[in-house]
């Protein structure tokens, strides 16, 4: 069966010269499904069964839990805002379907735009499609607010892939993290769609300063039909009025206003830990992110040094701020900073990108630690940027080669000294 399938696919291989784009696409999917016959003939340095494709797939696997929880949390936050189905499992079908309706278009647009550009450049340059976009495409939806308009998303992905990657020469040549570049594009180009209190819970719109629920339409009615047939609750069955005094503010936004007291007045610590808080789609649930990070460390894909150093950086800066205590946000106990916002997601999946991170072991400690420090400084001291990790990581991405350079220089000097001492 497998042989027949393989034979069939080999027969339909498009000609490389006549239709380069088709051949590129074919080649990409063929090598994804089967192990290609081509072998390296010279200069092999790494003898390992794992290649770029498998490396990338492991990262995507590690992100799956975040995807599942993100889908649920979109729905949970929406129904939480209108005060329905307060239990975690109440109206589970509604929450999941609501989340799916939001996250699927984001996922599809990201991949269609990103892969389209990737395939185009691969065929123009005449090489196979490299799997860099698999991880980027899996990360981008997790970084976006659930209500991001599709055209902005498409622009951001196109910008990140063309300017961030293809302009520098494709996969493995990029200076900054591409997924973060897409997010930073939205952040600076269309700030009202990705910052503030209103964007993190989907399906709400503010009219004259009062929240209202957007109408359920089209695809929701389709699912309503199915739910009715099974006798389940339908969308909007329990009313759609947004709860009184609902603000949609994230813990970080509350932290600026009134410090720890005002955070815990809206969210419990366990909600923040398990992830039942508004935020970007994939970043809220801390245990699942830790599981993904452990998986990455276990398979040797991501560097534990960067993660540990990042945690140290946050703890160090948090302690400094606690001692300083100028603003209410600075007085938030340092360990609670791990509960809020997207630090764990950023340090586990973004900072450890092997292309853009520092590559010497000592360099990784410095790189991770400084990400922690800068991220905390931006988070706590700058009210204009509610979350600092994106900017901190991009900044350190730019400095990573410099860090590596000085680590190597120092090493060379030390060895030269040692050689000199031995010669005497």
């Amino acid at each position: 069966m497998k042989k027949a399938l393989l034979h069939f696919f080999e027969r339909i291989e498009p000609d490389k010269k006549k239709s380069p784009l088709l051949h590129t696409a074919y080649d990409a999917f063929f090598t994804f499904a089967f192990t290609p016959k081509t072998v390296t003939t010279d200069g092999v340095h790494i003898r390992d069964g794992i290649d770029l494709k498998r490396t990338m797939v492991y990262v995507v696997l590690a992100l799956q839990l975040c995807y599942l929880f993100g889908t649920y949390n979109i729905g949970y936050q929406h129904f939480h805002a209108i005060g329905q189905y307060p239990g975690l499992l109440d109206g589970l079908h509604l929450k999941l379907v609501y989340g799916l309706i939001k996250i699927l278009p984001i996922f599809i647009v990201t991949h269609v735009v990103g892969l389209g550009i990737e395939f185009y450049y691969a065929s123009r340059k005449g090489h196979g499609v490299e799997e860099g976009f698999l991880v980027t495409g899996a990360l981008i939806p997790l970084l976006m607010p659930p209500d991001i308009p599709m055209w902005i998303l498409a622009f951001a992905v196109a910008f990140a892939v063309i300017i961030g990657k293809e302009a520098f020469g494709g996969t493995g040549m990029n200076i900054v993290n591409i997924a973060l570049l897409a997010r930073v594009f939205v952040f600076f180009a269309y700030p009202t769609y990705i910052a503030g209190d209103e964007v993190w819970v989907s399906g709400l719109e503010k009219v004259n300063g009062v929240y209202q629920t957007a109408e359920y339409s089209g695809v929701y009615h389709f699912f309503d039909g199915i739910f009715k047939a099974w006798g389940w609750d339908t969308f909007g069955a329990g009313g759609t009025a947004v709860m009184d005094a609902y603000t949609g503010a994230t813990p970080l936004a509350l932290g600026y206003q009134g410090g720890w007291n005002s955070i815990v007045s809206a969210y419990t610590v366990s909600d923040m830990w398990w992830g039942f808080i508004p935020g970007s789609i994939g970043e809220t649930s801390k245990p699942l992110i830790i599981l993904g990070a452990l998986f990455l460390i276990g398979t040797g894909i991501a560097s534990w040094r960067i993660m540990v150093a990042g945690v140290f950086g946050v703890a160090f800066t948090g302690l400094l701020f606690n001692a300083w205590g100028m603003t209410p946000f600075m007085e938030v106990p340092w360990y609670y900073h791990f509960y809020m916002g997207s630090f764990l997601f950023a340090i586990a999946f973004m900072a450890t990108d092997p292309v853009t991170a520092a590559s010497t072991n000592k360099g990784k400690w410095i790189y991770g630690f400084l990400i922690g420090v800068f991220g905390m400084v931006i988070r706590v001291m700058n009210p204009a940027y509610p979350e600092g990790w994106m900017l901190a990581i991009l900044l350190m991405n730019v400095f990573a080669p410099l860090i590596d350079h000085y680590i190597l220089e120092a090493n060379m000097k030390r060895r030269a000294r040692r050689a000199k001492a031995a010669a005497q």
Binding site: P149, W151, I152, I163, A167, F185, F188, A189, Y190, P191, T192, Y193
Partner: protein, 239 residues
């Protein structure tokens, strides 16, 4: 002063507006563009290109300054001692920039305020100094004049391309502040496409705030360089 004399071939037939002269005008527009090929004058390209109208004024100002400083320097090139040539050139440029600045202040105060310090900073614009050093010190006045105009136009072309993209996507208007202002897309009825109108097809549209930041100009100049090298194979691998 022997080393300062004309380097061109001795008994060349002097033409008023021949092939070589035309090349002086057209070369800086593409093959030898001061911004995208020589990478000069980028600072002002970043600073003033948020709107088209100031960019046009700036382009005209730089063209005039480059052209006439080239002309003046070429006219006196054989009398400038080599040791003080930079100072002499600067005096010429500063004089012309002051004339331009006072002229603008007198006749278009609004745009003068908008361009503020950048008119004065034409003095330090590397294009002006670069052309004086590279061309006017070694060529006759008429040719130097053409070279100045060509380089000013090449600079202006990049400025205006970048400014058009930035203003249309960043502010939804074109030529804002000038008599022929055109509001293209925005949320009031003053715009050609009113995104706030009932049943508008463009209700989703929002201005791109990144384009208003100087970063965008840097990106756009980079993309321009990319596109130019993409089709102009002469430029590949020279830098």
């Amino acid at each position: 002063m022997a080393e300062n004399t004309v380097i061109s071939a001795p008994k060349e037939k002097e033409e008023w507006f021949g092939k070589k002269e035309r090349k002086l005008l057209t070369d800086p527009l593409n093959d030898n563009n001061p911004v995208t090929v020589q990478i000069l004058g980028v600072c002002s390209a970043l600073a003033i290109t948020t709107q088209v109208y100031p960019s046009v004024v700036m382009a005209i100002a730089v063209t005039l300054v480059t052209a006439f400083s080239n002309l003046a320097t070429a006219a006196v090139r054989n009398y400038i001692p080599k040791e003080v040539r930079m100072i002499a050139q600067l005096v010429i440029i500063a004089l012309l920039v002051t004339i331009v600045e006072l002229f603008l202040k007198a006749f278009n105060y609004v745009i003068w305020k908008q361009l503020s310090v950048f008119i004065g900073l034409i003095i330090t614009n590397c294009i002006v100094m670069g052309r004086l050093e590279a061309f006017a010190m070694a060529n006759k006045p008429w040719r130097s004049f053409l070279d100045g105009i060509g380089n000013g136009l090449g600079y202006g072309a990049v400025l205006i391309i970048v400014a058009v993209v930035r203003e249309v996507t960043g502010k939804g208007s074109l030529f804002a502040g000038s008599p022929i202002e055109w509001k293209i897309i925005g949320p009031t009825s003053a715009y050609s496409i009113n995104t706030a109108a009932e049943g508008s097809w463009f209700g989703w549209y929002a201005n791109n705030n990144l384009m208003v930041l100087p970063t965008a100009a840097l990106l756009l100049v980079g993309i321009l360089i990319w596109i130019q090298r993409g089709y102009n194979k002469k430029l590949v691998d020279i830098s």
